[in-house]
Each structure stands twice: as C-alpha cells, then as structure tokens.
Symmetry: C2
Subunit: 231 residues, 2 copies
C-alpha cells in the first residue's frame, strides 16, 4: 500500500489558487494549504482562504505572518494607488505597481520549509504566465530555477530522500480555462476573493486589474460570475 | 562620479556575519544590514546585531519578523535539545538538529526583496562550507542556484538594470582565518553572539557546537577570545 502523498499548496483565497487546491486534491494529494499575512491592505483574502480551506476539507491550513511591509515597494503593501479600469493589454504590457518584490520567492521559500518538515515533495502554486505576464516570478524559467535551488537547499533533498517538485498547473492557462477547469472540479468561486481594493464590507471593487481579469474570465468561459461586486 | 553602491548584508549578530559586514564596508559598499526575529529561543542574537550595527555605523539596520516557528522542525525554534560538548569531527559528519529547514532560502529571499526596493545589486551572507558542512544551504552550489533564481525573480533584474550577486566571502575560510580577517579589519568580537543556548544573563554556554567552533577558532588564530563564557 502506498502512503498518501502530501502536498503544500499556496492559497491566497483567490480564484487561481483555489482552482489549484482542487486540482491537487483531484490528483490524490493530502493538502496542506499555506497562506500569508504579509501586510496586505485588507484581511478579506485571508478570510477567503480560511473559508476555502474549510469548504474543501483541507488537512491543515497554516497562515504564516511574514513581514513584507517593512521592505516596502508595492501598492499591495505600501501607500501607492491601485490602478483602476485598465484594459488587459495595458496590464500585460508592463510590470504593475501591485508587484511585490520577490513575493513568490519568499512564499515558495516558506512552502519549501514547511514541505521539508511535513515530509512533502510537492509544492503547488497558482502562478500564471498568460494573464500576469508582467510579473517576473510567474514565468516558467523562474519556477524551474526555484525548483533547482530547492533541491540543493534542503537536508531531505540533499540526502537523496526525494525530489522537490514545484507544480504550476495554471501557468499556461487563460483565466477562462482556469474557471472552466475549477468549475468542472466543483470549485465554489463565490467564496473566493481576487480584488486588490475591496469596499469596506469586503465586496470586490469591480475595476482593479484583478477584478477585470476575473470578470472577463467568467464572460469568456460562459459561466456566471458569482462574485458580489460593489461597483 | 560614481554613485555609492549599496549592499544588503545578512547580520545575525554572530562572529561570521559581523566579519562579513566589515568586509563589505571595506569594499566600499553602503551597508543595509538585515536581521530576523524568527522565533529564536532567546533575544541575545538580535541585541548583538543591534550593537554591531551601531558600532559599525551601518546606514540602516532592519529586523524583519519571520514566522519560522509555525513550520517547526529545528532545535533552534522548537523544543528539541541543543547538543553539547561535541567534537568538530562529530559536528561535521551529520546535519545537526539545529538545522532550520530552508532558513537561508527564506533569509536570502527577504534580502532579495529589500535589495530590489533599495536598488542594491549585492547581497552578502556569511555562510561557511568548512565549519558547517552539514548545512546544505551553506554550500557553493546552493548559493549559485539561488543567484541564478534571483536574477529571474525580480523586476529590476529581468528589465536588465543589473545583475544580482550573492557574495559569500567566508565560504571557504576556516574559523581561524575568519577571526584573523575580521581582527585585521578592526571587528570587536566582544559584542558578537554565537551561542545556541546562552545563560539567562546572555553569556555563552561554552559547550554548544557554535561555542566550540568559536573557542577553537580563536585558539587556532592565536587571538584572545573576548567572549564572556558562563561555563
């Protein structure tokens, strides 16, 4: 009998990472979901991640407190305006101010630490090189370099107990394809949160980059968007 | 006129990283030192790092709070006994229980984030492959892999503004050579802290792996050890 394989899955409470959770579960992994309190402007993402973990019966959900605010430099953690009502072509042409320096590197490093402690050899992250082409740490060459480094970084890997794999099942998918795949796996997108700049009651603004990608994705997928938008 | 080059230097308040600070300053860098509150058993390391930053006139010293305790797995953060009175040959034959999973990866990731925000292209870390051969993330091949990843991870590097370099000036030095080099640069080792398991008043225990390496290093260097030991 094979032991159940564990996976660490990065979960932001958003549409992409929630789809990844469903994909990892569908592949038979026992899921350990990992979220970060990193000085976000609001707490709705973490609330969504918690709801998702409960709804999906995740084995364990850990929120790690990481101090990205002290290094600064992003509209998601610092006092820089979140851009609104941009077209997808404008978004993809440049690296957005919502880019957080080295964020995925920090997040994957924590996932690596937790994976080693758990005895997990699989890490899932919902990066996407299509919709978020402006983020350098969402590209396949970056993920490959992180995986190479990870297999030189940890005691278990160096001792030859296994090979650490960074899974990026969404990396070449459009938002519409992601929504279709998650819907087929039974994901309830109504409890997920994507908005960068929500209303005080937690409703999505409807006009930041994340909301626009989400709205356009549901429209292109031909699936009704369950998100309660404020605007 | 050239702009002054900035460097992010990881500082633990210990002998090695304090020597690295002196080396980076000697190379003309403007120094931004970075320490971590990561759930250590005690606060003496951070107190030492603060003293060192003041004594060396560091441009800015940042303490980032990172949540390594929640992932567990090490004698430095969890309730596992710190080994005592081991010989150097015993230490180097195995990966010690004081190993923190993915610690250097997490620390370097923060350094990378801060470097990008500061516009720095140089990161210094006092890893050593001689005395600490048991730590996978102290080896040159690991550091090289991290540097490769770092240059794919950040906006500034991807946009071709520069090349991120991870400097490891101590990597092939013995403890005695490190102490001699630091002494030549005027380092006051009396304010540094290496001990894994200090007495309640902060004095070094004198018998954990870190204390033994330090004592032996001073003896081999022919330099008087200024450390006040409890035992």
């Amino acid at each position: 009998m094979n032991e159940i394989k564990k996976a660490v899955v990065l979960s932001s409470g958003g549409l992409d990472s929630t789809t990844v959770l469903a994909m990892a579960a569908d592949q038979g992994f026992e899921i350990y979901s990992l979220s970060f309190a990193y000085g976000q402007r609001h707490d709705f993402e973490l609330q969504a991640a918690e709801k998702v973990a409960v709804a999906m019966g995740i084995k364990r959900h850990l929120i790690a407190r990481v101090d990205l605010g002290s290094v600064g430099g992003s509209a998601l953690t610092a006092d820089i305006a979140v851009p609104k009502s941009r077209s997808e072509s404008t978004m993809s042409a440049e690296i957005p101010v919502t880019y957080v320096p080295a964020r995925n590197t920090i997040f994957l490093s924590y996932a690596l630490a937790w994976a080693e402690v758990l005895g997990a050899w699989d890490i899932f992250i919902g990066v996407n090189a299509v919709d978020y082409s402006g983020y350098p740490d969402c590209r396949p060459e970056y993920i490959q370099a992180f995986e190479t480094m990870a297999n030189l970084a940890t005691k278990a890997a160096v001792e030859g107990q296994g090979h650490m794999t960074i899974h990026t099942p969404l990396i070449q998918m459009t938002k519409a394809q992601i929504i279709q795949a998650g819907t087929a796996l039974g994901v309830d997108y109504g409890i997920t949160h994507s908005c960068y700049d929500p209303a005080p009651d937690g409703r999505a603004c409807g006009c930041c980059d994340a909301c626009i990608l989400r709205k356009n994705g549901f429209a292109a997928a031909g699936i009704t968007d369950p998100t309660p938008y404020a605007g």
